[in-house]
Amino acid sequence: MELQASAEMIQQSAPDQEEEVRRSPVKVILGSFIFRRALRALLTIYLVSTFIFFLVRLLPGDPVQVFINKQMTQYGYSYDDAANQARSLFAIDVDRPLLLQYTDYLSNLLRGDLGTSMVLPGTSVVSIIQSRIWWTIFSVGTSLIIAFVLGSLIGMLMAYKRGSTFDGIASTIGSILNSIPNYLLALLFIIIFGVRLNWFNYTKMRGSVSSGQPVEFSWAFFTDALYHAILPISVYVVTSIGGWMLLMKSSTISTLEEDHVTAARARGVPEWRVLGFYVGRNAILPLFTQLTIAIGFVVGGSLLVEPIFQYQGIGMRLYESINQRDYPVLQGIFLVITISVVVALFVADLLYSRLDPRIRS
């Protein structure tokens, strides 16, 4: 009797559902979560590129002027000669109004043209960035994943065994590691393990790949790249894992006390499912927010570590550009950093919405 009644109710409500499906497709796309997030990402990129443009133009000490002065003092050119040289080299017309310069900049940007380097005349900024950025994404990305996965597993274990000797030791180590600056650890690595203990040949490990090794899709290239990246990766992992451990521990402890975990156990849900789907899945959510923030610090972190290991990544290039006051390259790197952070955040947002249904609505 009752079953029949419920079957009737299913039939009754079916037309409502169909109506929902028939909503205009344009509305569905415009209102969708992904579309809204993508729009936000594009807006962010536009705002930041505008900001960078005005920041560089309005900074005291015009970079073009700096170049002209350098040409005059170093090579004895007259001002007019030096200025003409600058104009032809950088294709910058300093006499054009700022607004027109801005529209030029934007249209160049849309065509993927970030200008040319001041220090290496004729070399495009895009090619400089392209030759460096993948190394950083590889080394920092790998270490971010390793530290996140390993850190949250250890943190979860610490929470389960809270109060135990393991928890005590791991907590202490975690907070110590969390407070060591990565550039300091990089120096310590070289001095202690490289120089004093002579565990590895740190001069051979310099650079991002051995000279003579072609960049190709092969096992030899992969192992060589890994060999050169192992030091920066270890430094990133060691200095960031402590934070993930402590975060996951506190997050897991509070999740373990949640009623739905107790209730799941009461219902006889197998322990591995409780750990994975009730504790783990909910405990990881706050860490995911932290992860999106950590992505933003990726290049910031590599800025000081890469020069120490002479790792040919974007961080080291940024460091060089700052020293050489190579403004177009600086501007390009900042822009690429911004875009990659925005894209990373967008991807993280999508992943997060998969993990937490509350975000989607």
């Binding site: 799941a264 009461a266 006889g268 849900v269 009730y278 509350r358």
Partner: protein, 367 residues
């Protein structure tokens, strides 16, 4: 057809055993001398002390008392869901299912108990709004629970769930595929009740089923529980500090004080002829459940004792207006005063609901 006759008989039987009549239904849960202790930095703290009670098939038993009286702890202990720092130190609890198989709750292995719990004995939690995993669909929670008990027929589970949703007055199709955050507090409480009934448990423990809800939702949940009791065949223990809820839902009431059951009997006897001073105090402290005239409310003087340092003799004697010398030395046993009404008090003959006695006591203790 035969099912209907059976239902009718069962209902008749339930009606008969309610009220003051001496129930003849078989005992479903026999609790004997159960004590529960919590580990604290100052030693083991007794939260439940030698509790003894029999619950008969089909009854609704209310455990009432102030916060910290041990009522929830007893409920959790019976389902072996105490926190790590707690242990059942003495006593036993025997569950007898409808086939006559007995289960010794505290001596079963964890593995045995995992299959037993929810199948025979289930629970609805106090903060039922939080018992659903926020990142899991309601449907998934029901399927998972069934699967954990070896019920793999997904279509049957869904049909059963939708049927239960109707019984708790939820829109089955809207709720089944929803996430918990898409439902209101009252709806989640209904889902939680439906979830506890998924495997047709014979005994359901409800821990403060209405406490976390607003007054309108409370009313709705009470009605849901009442109608479920009429439609389904299960025994019920519910823990509450709400006397009106107990009066409305319970057949029998157990009053707990400082971890002890001090009075246990049919709801009418306990509420109309209370014989334990603490029950009297509780009744004086709330507006009358029946009747038109309003009597002034009187609080029980003093405060609940520190469970690490329970008073000697009867634990209630420092707050009791009827206390005599013997009360501070000898803890009175729970004795049958007739009609399955049990009381633990030396001076039960003198106990009255006379307001003046209590007001006077309040004045002395307050001074």
């Amino acid at each position: 057809m035969s099912d209907q006759t059976h239902d009718l008989d069962a209902r008749k039987e339930r009606d008969r055993i309610r009220g003051t009549a001496e129930s003849t239904a078989p005992v479903i849960l026999s609790v004997r001398d159960v004590s529960v202790e919590y580990k604290t930095p100052y030693g083991w703290m007794k939260a439940v002390n030698n509790s003894t009670m029999d619950i008969r098939r089909g009854e609704a038993v209310a455990l009432i008392g102030e916060s910290g009286s041990g009522k929830s702890t007893l409920g959790f202990a019976l389902l072996r869901m105490l926190v790590r720092a707690a242990r059942v130190s003495t006593g036993e609890a025997i569950f007898t299912d409808k086939n006559g198989t007995t289960y010794d709750l505290f001596r079963m292995t964890d593995k045995e108990f995992r299959t037993f719990r929810w199948d025979k004995m289930a629970m609805t939690f106090q903060a039922a709004q939080n018992v659903l995993n926020p990142v899991m669909r309601i449907s998934n929670t029901f399927h998972e629970t069934a699967r954990s008990h070896g019920w793999n027929d997904k279509a049957a589970v869904k049909a059963k769930t939708l049927d239960l949703f109707k019984k708790v007055q939820l829109d089955p199709n809207r709720v089944f595929d929803a996430y918990p955050f898409e439902l209101s507090g009252g709806m989640r409480q209904r889902v939680s009740i439906a979830l506890s009934l998924l495997l047709d448990p014979e005994l359901l423990i409800l821990d403060e089923p209405t406490t976390a809800l607003d007054i309108i939702t409370q009313r709705a949940i009470i009605d849901v529980i009442k109608s479920l009791r009429e439609q389904l065949d299960f025994t019920m223990i519910f823990v509450s500090h709400d006397l009106s809820l107990a009066a409305e839902l319970a057949d029998r009431v157990a009053t707990m004080y400082a971890g002890e059951i001090v009075e246990y009997g049919p709801v009418r006897d306990v509420f109309y002829r209370p014989e334990h001073p603490y029950t009297v105090g509780l009744l004086n402290a709330v507006p009358p459940i029946v009747g038109e005239e309003f009597t002034p409310l009187v609080a029980i003087p003093g405060a609940t004792p520190n469970l690490l340092n329970i008073p000697s003799g009867c634990p209630f004697h420092p707050r009791c207006p009827f206390a005599t010398d013997i009360c501070s030395t000898v803890n009175p046993p729970l004795v049958d005063v007739g009609g399955t009404h049990f009381v633990s008090c030396h001076n039960r003959d003198k106990v009255t609901r006379d307001q003046e006695v209590w007001e006077e006591m309040e004045a002395t203790v307050g001074a």
